[in-house]
């Protein structure tokens, strides 16, 4: 059965000068939402062995290794991302690691949450048009994660690198947010590139 990318850009689209930000859908990103007790060392250890990284427990932090990233969303809630094709395997391994008796929950949300990648020298300027967070490079550093609003959409914002952000948004809002980002980038220029 054919799947459908939301912003299936086969071609490169340039808005304005195209130099300020690069915008792309990370359509091949798999997402798993994990719930569990951060006080329970055995849980953190079991998950850590599967992902080969320690789940971040500090609020607003993340952990990354290779193509796996764990984003802190709440004290007992993480978003784990990996290549979409690896989701079935990771889901299975994580369920095994959790085991039948431990209280934890895993849900796949690859389809429910869409990830946009926003990069370029004006990425922070564009975000600041709709996001009330303090996005100063000293405050929102690479690795930081925060739930917030972007325009009228609820988002999870992850700073990948000084000029590179991932924006997670519920699928049904993605069209609105994409249009908003293209519009907000108008004065800096937007390059829409297929991921």
């Amino acid at each position: 059965m054919a799947d459908a990318r939301l912003q299936a850009q086969a071609a490169i689209v340039v808005v304005g000068s195209g130099r300020g930000i690069r915008l792309a859908e990370r359509a091949d990103l798999g997402k798993l939402e994990l719930r569990g007790d951060p006080q329970e060392r055995a849980f953190l250890g079991a998950i850590g062995r599967v992902l080969d990284l320690l789940l971040p427990v500090e609020p607003g932090s993340s952990a990354s290794k290779g193509d796996i990233t764990a984003l802190w969303q709440a004290p007992d809630r993480w978003l784990i991302t990996c290549p979409l094709s690896d989701v079935p395997l990771f889901a299975k391994l994580l369920r095994e690691a959790i085991g039948p008796d431990r209280h934890a929950a895993l849900c796949e949300v690859s389809d429910g949450r869409v990830a946009f990648s926003l990069a370029g020298p004006n990425a922070r300027d564009v975000l600041a048009k709709g996001c009330p967070l303090d996005l100063h490079p000293k405050q929102f550093r690479p690795g930081r994660v925060a739930g917030s609003l972007l325009a009228k959409a609820e988002i999870l914002l992850h700073c990948q690198a000084p000029d590179h952000f991932d924006v997670y948004v519920a699928r049904s809002f993605a069209g609105y947010l994409w249009a908003w980002l293209e519009d907000a980038g108008l004065d800096y220029g937007v390059l829409v590139a297929p991921s």
């Binding site: 059965m1 459908a4 048009k129 004065d187």
Partner: protein, 1000 residues
């Protein structure tokens, strides 16, 4: 095109080599780049700009800044036109078009000026006294008249073609005002490494220095500071930016005029204006001071200006607004204007209210040979559309009477100074309470309530050196408070201003004419005179808030920036109360008017509100669906075929579903994944019905009640595993229900081990209903065993379709045999298309929300929010079987035990059949038992849902009726404006009451 008679040969920050053409009232003029519209008009000797609000008196330009009450124009044309703009703050651009306001046919001959002749009949409170009688006249006559007369300019009627943006910003120190104190504060903070935003409403930073000559040492200092500030990476300078609102938690809103000064030449990708939403750790207010006029007789003629503003025109723009000037003052500062005017070649006379003028500036003026009438006041002025002369006279020692002979001094310019009011608006907005300082004769900022401090003239520190010192200290203190190590910067010693002698405060001045004709204006915009204020007091309005409202002092677009304190002073003198005890009226945002466009930002047009789309939205759109907004979701309402009306399309969709198969996009329904050993117990508490005995693989319909026992949400929840459930909620209730579940888990029942995760958007949901559904599902999902023995109604199975994970539910919201298929959202569109292709031989018909409503209503299935309204219990809906009274507890249980819940006359769900089968009731219509009552009738219920039923071949309705279940068979009546509709009360289930179709 005319020459610029008032432009000086040199001076000002204007670009002499860049002339700009503009049009005022249809006449073409020339100004220079760097001019404000006001300075360009004055350069052309145009003082008459508009007509006053009430009396239509000729009015000119009073000031050079934000306080301008009268020099207002309608700027631009078509969709870009904007009313009530201050000429003093409009930067001139080539091709600018402006017109006068509040006059007809023109500003020079204005018929409204007849009001002026009648002015003795139009005192304060005229409206309240006149437009009272007869009451029937109020709306059709008076309101129309008043509305026509009200306002100054005209609101645009075309859409605004410009772009506006919002921008969030955070900083350690926000400095409002770029004058000497603000620049110093910004420098102190920036040097400490703090993140600084420095905003100033003017195009150039410098504040009061902009009114100083080019040779003033402050100019070089200003350039040096600006250059240094520009070098800090974390300092943002925002000229052309007004901080207009100060909210809680140091949240301030600023409006930046990004391209206003470019006019139509502005680049299209830039916003016209930008609204900054700033969170500042510390705020330094360096907002300066606004000069106060004096309330002398006929003080409103064009050509009468504030003394400080005249200096600004001289030195900032190279414009000398008149040749024969009288400077009327109660303090030293206006002597600087006298000196500069004389220097610029004007003939100058000073009239000083003080018996002696002995400061350094008066001494310099005397030395320059400028005539001074000390102890005098202006008691009248002459002139029509421009001041021609003033009449001055010696005043008695107490200032209340004219003593000496009257002297007529010809003048085409009168420069007035009644002292200075610190600009405390933002401090007041931040909840600070200003205090009156009798020594300085002005209100000063009180104790800070938020993390803010005032520095410079806005704190009553009026000399240049005092401003620099205060700014340096405030900037350093703010940076320290924000966690930085800071020290106050130094400044060149030559930056000082002469010491000034105290002012003489005389709020009421004697006039040559009797009170009613003296025209001593206090509020130049609203035409409020000193006599109006006296009248208000005579009529018993003692509180300053009442005086303000009765006379409308300070209520115009300028919010009384030049009039409030004068009005207070007059009230204080008349009542004998100290000004400080009268209090000052509270300032509220905005400081100056903000265009709606800036407030709206990009939240307009297609970005006005998010439109949530389901995974199958593209198919619906291609199929020509008409959409309905369900909250932010857009859902197909119905799918009309060419030429079909809505009624025909809906009837076709309903009939096809009952006869063959219908397909509904149900992806918007909320889905919450619940996992954990205590989930069944949690559901027992959250839902009114029982969940412990639900087997794995089975589903149950549940009602969720609030603590008040009222239905709050409903939906089907499936048990996917021993500890794993999937809850569905209403489309609109998804977020609310998740928050509700989390609230109970986190605050009341932390001992329950349950994790809730929203998966609404993860799954696309296709809902199939109709007698042939099983045949189609068998083709679509061959891996599932559909045998009703193994897969009965209200069950769920997990598996795959074409290798894609899928969940298949056997549930129904139509009363027909029904299956719901969920696949990951990215496959929704493809599965829908395949479903349509495979379903064609069966007569598969997509149906929208309208057909869904008809189908469910025919079965008496409720919709939360349609049949219920927050006062509806399960019992009211006939759903008592869903109340697990034997359960130890559940949300709402205690409330259901209240006596009121058992009343026999509660409104209960029933069906209605209109007597005439074609009669369609209106949803929301009221029901009465006796049609012959005289209104107001006793209303015993209301229609909640009403449709035409293709299945019944007639109209029907659902309703909530008092004691409804005991009324089955009764006839009730629906009074409509034009008729009385008789209806029969029935059971609420109209189709297949035995439920045979469901279980087939």
């Amino acid at each position: 095109m005319s020459a610029q008679p008032n432009r000086l040969a040199a001076g000002g920050q204007v670009e002499r080599g860049r002339p700009l053409a503009f049009t005022f009232n249809g006449r073409r003029y020339q100004g220079l780049a760097g001019d404000s519209l006001a300075s360009a008009l004055l350069a052309n000797d145009v003082h008459l700009v508009g007509r006053s609000f009430k009396y239509h008196r000729p009015r000119g330009i009073l000031s050079a800044g934000a306080e301008e009450p009268t020099g207002l124009v309608q700027l631009g044309e078509g969709g870009r036109t904007e009313p009530n703009l201050r000429t003093t703050q409009i930067e001139l651009y080539d091709g600018l078009v402006a017109t006068s306001q509040n006059c007809w046919p023109g500003v020079q001959l204005d018929l409204g000026a007849l009001n002026n002749l009648a002015s003795p009949l139009l005192p304060a409170g005229f409206y309240y006294k006149t437009f009272m009688w007869p009451p029937a006249f109020w709306q059709p006559v008076y309101e129309r008249l008043i509305r026509r007369a009200a306002g100054l300019g005209r609101a645009p009627v075309l859409p605004d073609p410009d772009r506006y943006e919002h921008r969030h910003a955070h900083c350690d120190v926000l400095v409002v005002g770029g004058g000497p104190a603000g620049l110093m504060a910004g420098l102190a903070a920036a040097r400490s490494g703090a993140r600084v935003i420095l905003a100033d409403e003017q195009p150039a930073l410098g504040g009061a220095l902009l009114a100083e000559p080019a040779a003033h040492p402050g100019q070089a200092w200003r350039q040096e500071v600006l250059a240094e500030l520009a070098g800090f990476e974390d300092t943002r300078l925002l000229p052309r930016t007004t901080a207009f609102a100060y909210y809680d938690h140091n949240y301030l809103c600023l409006v930046e005029r990004v391209t206003d000064h470019l006019g139509p030449a502005a680049p299209p990708q830039l916003p016209r204006q930008r609204l900054w939403k700033v969170r500042a750790r510390q705020v330094v207010l360096a907002t300066g001071a606004i000069e106060r006029p004096l309330a002398f007789a006929q003080n409103d003629r064009p050509g009468i200006m504030l003394a400080g503003a005249v200096r600004r025109y001289l030195h900032g723009y190279g414009v000398r607004p008149g040749r024969r000037a009288v400077v009327f003052t109660n303090n030293d500062s206006a002597y600087a204007t006298a000196l500069d005017l004389a220097e610029a070649g004007a003939e100058v006379t000073v009239v000083d209210l003080r018996p002696q003028a002995e400061g350094a500036l008066p001494a310099a003026a005397a030395q320059a040979g400028i005539a001074c009438r000390a102890g005098h006041g202006i008691v009248a002025t002459e002139g029509g559309q421009r001041v021609k002369a003033v009449i001055c006279a010696r005043l008695s020692a107490d200032g209340t009477r004219i003593e000496g002979a009257r002297e007529r001094i010809p003048a085409d310019l009168v420069c007035v100074s009644g002292g200075w009011n610190p600009t405390i608006h933002l401090h007041s907005q931040s909840r600070g309470r200003p205090v009156y300082d009798p020594e300085r004769g002005c209100f000063l900022p009180g104790l800070p309530v938020q993390a803010e401090r005032s520095a410079g003239a806005c704190a009553g520190e009026f000399g240049l050196a005092a401003c620099l010192a205060a700014g340096a200290a405030a900037g350093a203190a703010a940076a320290e408070a924000a966690g930085f190590r800071a020290s106050p910067p130094d400044w060149p010693a030559e930056l000082a201003s002469p010491a000034e002698a105290p002012a003489r405060l005389l709020w009421q001045l004697p006039a040559a004419k009797p009170e009613a004709r003296a025209k001593q204006f206090v509020d130049l915009q609203n035409d409020v005179t000193a006599a109006d204020i006296r009248l208000a007091l005579r009529e018993g309005y003692a509180s300053i808030e009442h005086v303000k409202r009765y006379t409308t002092t300070g209520m115009g677009t300028d919010q009384g920036k030049t009039s409030n304190v004068v009005a207070l002073g007059i009230v204080a003198e008349l009542t004998g109360q100290p000004i400080g005890e009268l209090g000052v009226t509270t300032f509220r945002p905005p400081y100056t008017p903000v265009p709606f466009g800036a407030i709206v930002g990009r939240n307009c047009g297609p970005l006005f509100e998010p439109v949530r789309r389901t995974p199958m939205d593209a198919w619906h759109e291609a199929a020509g669906a008409v959409f309905e907004a369900v909250g932010q979701w857009r859902r197909p309402w119905y799918y009309p075929r060419p030429g079909e009306s809505m009624a025909t399309a809906v009837a076709r969709e309903v009939t096809a579903t009952r006869a063959a198969i219908g397909l509904l996009d149900a992806s918007t329904l909320g889905k919450i994944d619940l996992q954990g050993p205590d989930t069944a117990e949690f559901l027992n508490r959250i839902y009114s019905n029982g969940w412990s005995k639900l087997e794995v693989g089975r589903c149950r319909y549940g009602l969720m009640l609030g603590e008040d026992g009222m239905v709050f949400d409903d939906g089907v929840t499936a048990r996917l595993g021993e500890q794993h459930f999937l809850m569905s909620t209403t489309s609109g209730g998804a977020a609310r229900v998740l928050a509700w579940l989390e609230e109970w888990l986190q605050t009341e029942w932390p001992e329950l081990k349950v994790y809730c995760t929203s998966v609404t958007e993860q799954w696309a949901t296709l809902s199939l209903s109709g007698p042939r559904t099983r045949e189609l599902v068998a083709l679509l999902a061959p891996e599932f065993d559909l045998d009703p023995q193994h897969f009965p109604h209200m069950s769920v199975r997990e598996g795959t379709i074409d290798g894609v994970p899928a969940r298949l539910f056997r549930i129904s919201f139509t009363g027909e045999l029904g299956y719901e298929i969920q696949v990951p959202a990215r496959y929704g569109l493809a599965l829908w298309a395949r479903c349509m292709a495979l379903g064609e031989p069966f007569g598969l018909t997509p149906f929208g929300t309208e057909a869904m409503h008809v189908l469910r209503a025919e079965k008496g299935y409720i919709i939360v929010g349609q049949e219920t309204d927050g006062t509806t219990t399960p019992g009211d809906l006939g759903l008592d079987r869903l109340v697990g009274r034997k359960k130890p507890d559940f949300l709402g249980k205690r409330s259901l035990a209240r006596a009121d819940m058992g009343r026999a006359d509660r409104k209960q769900l029933v069906g209605l059949l209109p007597r005439a089968s074609e009669d369609l009731l209106e949803e929301g219509a009221q029901l009465v038992a006796d049609p012959n009552q005289t209104p107001p009738m006793a209303m015993i219920g209301h229609v909640t849902s009403s449709y035409r039923s293709p299945s019944l071949g007639r109209s029907f309705a659902l309703a909530m009726v008092q004691g409804g279940r005991a009324r089955l068979g009764e006839t009730l009546f629906v009074p409509m404006p034009d008729r009385m509709v008789a209806v029969t009360v029935t059971e609420p289930v109209f189709v297949d009451p035995e439920g045979e179709r469901l279980h087939g």
